[in-house]
Symmetry: C2
């Protein structure tokens, strides 16, 4: 399903040898740092300083230019001023180096002159088949292979050990901070990559490469925006196919943040709600804060598998904190099933004043009776009713005397219940915490953070499977394109695309209206059709509940008279005749074209929900029924579709089918149509389907 | 406004001497620990072990019982089994000890037998004028006076220094954990108190005492529930009057948490939404998690004054993280005004590629140019447009080489801009962090946590002032009480209480209805009045828009005929005649009686808002206009009152006046009425007031 890894990036990230153009002997200079770091940490490939004004740098023989290299150097680091970068790269011989990292700033981030310089640099690289990381970036590290192609000061304050997390950051400062945080939190990295201006390689390329990298199990990424939506979708799909979770922080969630992001990045940021939809759709976990970013990465890296489902056991020595954790569990959408009766009975035998329900409170007794914790947890997990266990040990964690008890607990639990990931909240000394983590157990000082993190990663593997939305058959839609679509034509178009459009006819005169109504039978609605009239009710252009020929002719005359009086200039195409709508819950569905990601489907409830509460959900087209159901469930007013206020539950399945059909249409015809709005899309009672009552469709060229 | 401190609690918390009943020589025993801790930490008062089976304990002469004490011991610690506690206390001489702390469990938390034992203990204490802390508690510490009246193991793992935070926890385990967290976070405590079963002294008593305690500047408290609402209100009012912020964690926010809390505490927990209203009303900051609890306590303790307003400056060396912080600021309801033009120009002169707007990005240049940070921040703060400054220094914080720069920055900023509290996000080594904190500067590893915390504490002092809701004139309401109120009587009652009730008349026959309509003039609505008919429309009991005598008589006859047909058994009081309502936004206001806190006023918007979205706000009665305005603004659908969907903005002031009047009525008549529901309460366009269209009022005795 995914493509093989891009081997040109392998030459970048796992080079046989590295040339440093602008290498320097002066400590702290950006040309000195990679040489120092590579040697200090024992990079095993060749290190070749390039500097026309020196024979040797830091004790290594130096070459005057990239043309002097022979065969075994894959990567050049350019640590020369912006004005000299292209020139330096021009000296690379064809078939020589495969990649270049450009540290220096002064390119597109500074304005048009810098952008021209960046374009020249790219052209030189393209001509020579050289992949480019940067410019204006802090470079990268391949931690396992000790490739320190960076001038970030972060490693100088302490090294992060090799591990399973691949970290990619568009921002150097965020990246450097994240590196330091990883060190503080005891995480291990496979790669650390900063992409800077992304003249060639972007965050998406790195994600895709890491998806194929054997050393990487979890991908953590920071983004400011994306210029190539298809590339990012492909990258996230590759990560999902490889079973590697992606944790992402993207700035610009709010108007203030988006404004700041726009002034910071020259790049087009795109609509944040669309990014949010993208991440949900591809199972990427979006972190709102740096702390959440690390909590998620930490959990996914430390646990071999995230919890398979959402059933949480809470296990404490404090009833009060147990309740606090239950609060957080409910907020996080986790279920708290009760332990089996036998397990409850056994606990109450052991500790009469314990609370044997979930949250389970074994009381402070756990501290004085070493085997109690394990025996009780064992009983509770015996019949497989929990997907994860969160434990709170209060202040006891800081007691060295109790350490053997807790260590045995964690070890035996992992051994006996490997399918139930364990998170402990307590204040362990750092060394003790690391020991527990090595056993595969999460440790959080804040029990609420533990619960929130479990809530975010629980069932991740499952969701990734169910959210698959790949290649679905496109709708037929072979009718010739019209220059513009009135509502009758729009409804016909959607009907052909498989949407449940209410039958409606354009009648061009009174007799045609009578025939159309007769063909429908029953009460009808009549509405003027005109490209020039938007608010039809306001000009007397709508009549409802018309029964019988006489009433129909009167209604027709009434509409025409009123409309001609109010809008003498309007072009009148005729009247639309449609059956009166049954009772249902009014929804709105739409499609708009995101400049980065293409067609995006929107869903919401009618009335105040969309207009006042902005209660809408989005997904990128195309998608299937499962994703459509997620979209519907995401709405805050969702209860209204389930039969709130004494109404019947709606046919949510039919609504989902309609959204999925709309998404397939939007994707297949993305070149032809720029926007669709179905308002209302009626959700009928269970078993009766959904019904689109009115639609507006815009041609792609009309959007410009 | 507040009462003087309770001097009996001063004998508890600041005792001249301490007797330990059940004192032990065996390390780790609960009777040994207080003796050990008091001596080890240098308590300066007398320490008197009481134990009939020893002459000396831990080298101190022991007495056989409390009757052997002479004058200078204020406090007895009871570390004897539950069955012996009352007996031991009985030996205290009249006018002797003033307080007792009871460590042992086995009282009301274990069931009826334990509850009886607790009642006996209380009776003994009451007779002797002895205040009781516990039983089933971990005791307390007066950190400054080195009173370690506790058997918590937490101090054994390291002592918390004296400081300005008074900490009160109902739960011992939470308290012990919080003590350890305070130590980890470098906070100082004045007192640490655990209240356990609260047989006498509860959390509220401790808050009130700390409000008067000179050593305490900030109060942090953990609660599970409260049995005496008036006491808690008085305590929070005392803290507010003393200008001491209160940070509170209360469990049971959600259904799952409330269930867990109920099974944990025998006490009546009460409705969580009411606690939430209480905390908002008294300016107490509610923390959802232990981490938030400490972030708030930390900020309020470290900053001498919280920010005076909500205008935040964000100051970074990374544009990306600046945007992340801007996102959080918008979520937290903080404003991000731009720096003055001159300040922007000067920054761009210094660093051409900086971003001079807010968030300000001075770029990595700040790291290589020592004076840049301070000079720029100085410029930006020069004209007083910020209430707080949040700074992000990325990974640079871990660099010892840069420490002098950052230290000078923090020091000079505090000196030059003492009115602008400063929070820095960076990974400083712990000792460096402490230095910055001693300068009055907050340090957060996570920049989002810094912003959220600023958002929570900004303007706290102001709000405390404005939310005052103390003694307001009660409404007249001298009409005699009726056994029950139909809607006409209910509306009259509310009208007398100062609410804008629509004029309505009870007509007992057709002629009376005609007269009532004539008196009103214009179109009227008519509605059957019957205590037996709830859904009046369903039985044809409502007619709208009736004009003229003929139509009125027909409507009357129609209603009576239909109602008698549908409900032949119903008692019919007559019909209500009222003018047709003008157009407005339908709201709902109500009062219910909370068993702990008394009358609580509810406000929400009609329709889906209350019924589907549960979008309501609460406040405890009585309150004034400002609090009512807060209630209205708190509603998610608030935009609907401001003129969303093309409507005119509503008369929110009149709505607030109506809510305030309702709250005064509910408070003044709390003995007479148990519930009021006004539905709809119509919010009319700006300048036209509000209008109660229908009301149901229940007598207090009717609720039982």
């Amino acid at each position: 399903m995914t493509q093989p890894p891009d081997s040109s990036l392998s030459r970048l990230f796992d080079p046989r040898g590295i040339a440093i153009v602008g290498a320097s002997a002066t400590p702290g200079k950006i040309g000195a740092m990679p040489v120092t770091l590579l040697r200090q940490h024992g990079y095993e490939g060749r290190i070749v300083p390039v500097n026309p004004r020196a024979d040797a740098i830091q004790g290594l023989p130096a070459l005057p230019g990239l043309d002097a290299l022979d065969g075994d150097v894959d990567l050049a680091i350019l640590a020369v001023p912006a004005a000299q970068a292209a020139q330096a790269l021009e000296r690379a011989r064809p078939g020589g180096i495969g990649a270049a990292v450009v540290f220096t700033s002064g390119f597109s981030e500074t304005g048009p002159a810098g952008a021209a310089q960046q374009e020249r640099l790219c052209a030189v690289a393209r001509e020579r088949g050289i992949r480019l990381l940067g410019p204006n970036c802090l470079g990268f590290m391949n931690v396992r292979r000790k490739v320190y192609a960076t001038f970030s000061p972060a490693p100088a304050n302490g090294i992060v050990p090799p591990g399973g997390i691949g970290m990619v950051s568009q921002s150097g400062a965020f990246g450097a901070y994240a590196y330091s945080m990883a060190r503080e939190r005891g995480l291990g990295l496979s790669h650390w990559i900063s992409t800077g201006n992304e003249a060639d390689i972007d965050v998406a390329d790195c994600i895709e490469w890491l998806a194929h990298d054997a050393d990487t199990r979890v991908i953590m990424t920071y983004m400011e925006g994306c210029r190539d939506g298809a590339r990012l979708r492909r990258a996230l799909a590759a990560a999902r196919a490889a079973g590697k979770p992606v944790v992402v922080t993207k700035i610009g969630r709010t108007q203030a943040g988006a404004q700041a992001a726009a002034s910071h990045t020259a790049a087009l940021a795109g609509d944040d709600a669309v990014y949010d939809a993208l991440f949900r759709q591809y199972g990427a976990l979006r972190a709102r804060t740096i702390e959440e970013f690390f909590n998620l990465g930490y959990a996914l890296d430390t646990w071999k598998r995230p919890p398979a489902g959402r059933r949480l056991g809470i296990f404490t020595i404090s009833g009060g904190v147990g309740a606090l954790m239950a609060d957080e569990a409910q907020d996080a959408g986790l279920a708290l099933p009760e332990p089996a009766g036998a397990a409850q009975a056994r606990l109450l035998e052991r500790v009469p004043f314990a609370s044997a329900r979930n949250p389970v409170d074994v009381t402070g007794q756990a501290v004085s009776e070493p085997g109690l914790l394990l025996a009780t947890a064992d009983d509770i997990l015996a019949d497989g009713r929990y997907d994860a266990l969160a434990v709170f040990l209060a202040a006891a964690g800081s007691s060295e005397a109790l350490w053997p008890t807790f260590e045995a607990f964690a070890r035996d639990m992992q051994a006996r219940h490997p399918g139930v990931p364990l998170a402990i909240s307590a204040l362990f000394p750092p060394a003790r915490r690391r020991e527990l983590e090595r056993l595969g157990c999460l440790v959080f000082p804040d029990p609420s953070a533990a619960i929130r993190t479990i809530g975010a990663v629980a069932g991740l593997a499952d969701e990734a499977g169910s959210a698959s939305c790949a290649d679905m058959p496109a709708p037929a839609g072979n009718a010739p394109l019209l220059p513009a679509y009135n509502e009758v034509q729009a409804m016909e178009l959607l009907r052909q695309a498989g949407l449940p459009a209410t039958p409606c006819t354009l009648a061009v005169d009174e007799d045609a209206a009578v025939r159309a109504a007769a063909a429908l039978g029953g009460a009808v609605a009549m509405k003027v059709v005109s490209p020039d009239i938007v608010h039809k009710s306001d000009v007397g252009g709508v009549k409802l509940n018309i029964v019988g020929e006489e009433a129909l002719r009167a209604a027709y005359a009434g509409i025409m008279g009123s409309v001609r009086r109010h809008c003498p200039e309007a072009q009148i195409d005729g009247v639309l005749v449609a059956p009166m709508a049954p009772k249902g819950v009014e929804c709105i569905a739409g499609v708009h074209c995101d400049p980065v990601f293409g067609p995006v489907v929107m869903f919401g409830l009618g009335g105040v929900f969309v207009e006042v509460l902005k209660d809408v959900s989005f997904r990128l087209a195309p998608f299937g029924r499962d994703v459509a159901l997620e979209m519907i469930r995401e709405i805050k007013g969702h209860a209204l579709l389930q039969g709130a206020r004494g109404a019947l539950p709606c046919d949510i399945g039919a609504l989902a089918d309609a959204l999925a059909a709309l998404s397939r249409f939007a994707h297949a015809r993305r070149a032809d149509f720029s926007s669709v709005e179905i308002n209302p899309l009626l959700a009928l009672p269970e078993g009766q389907g959904a019904l689109a009552l009115d639609a507006v469709v815009l041609r792609a060229d009309a959007a410009a």
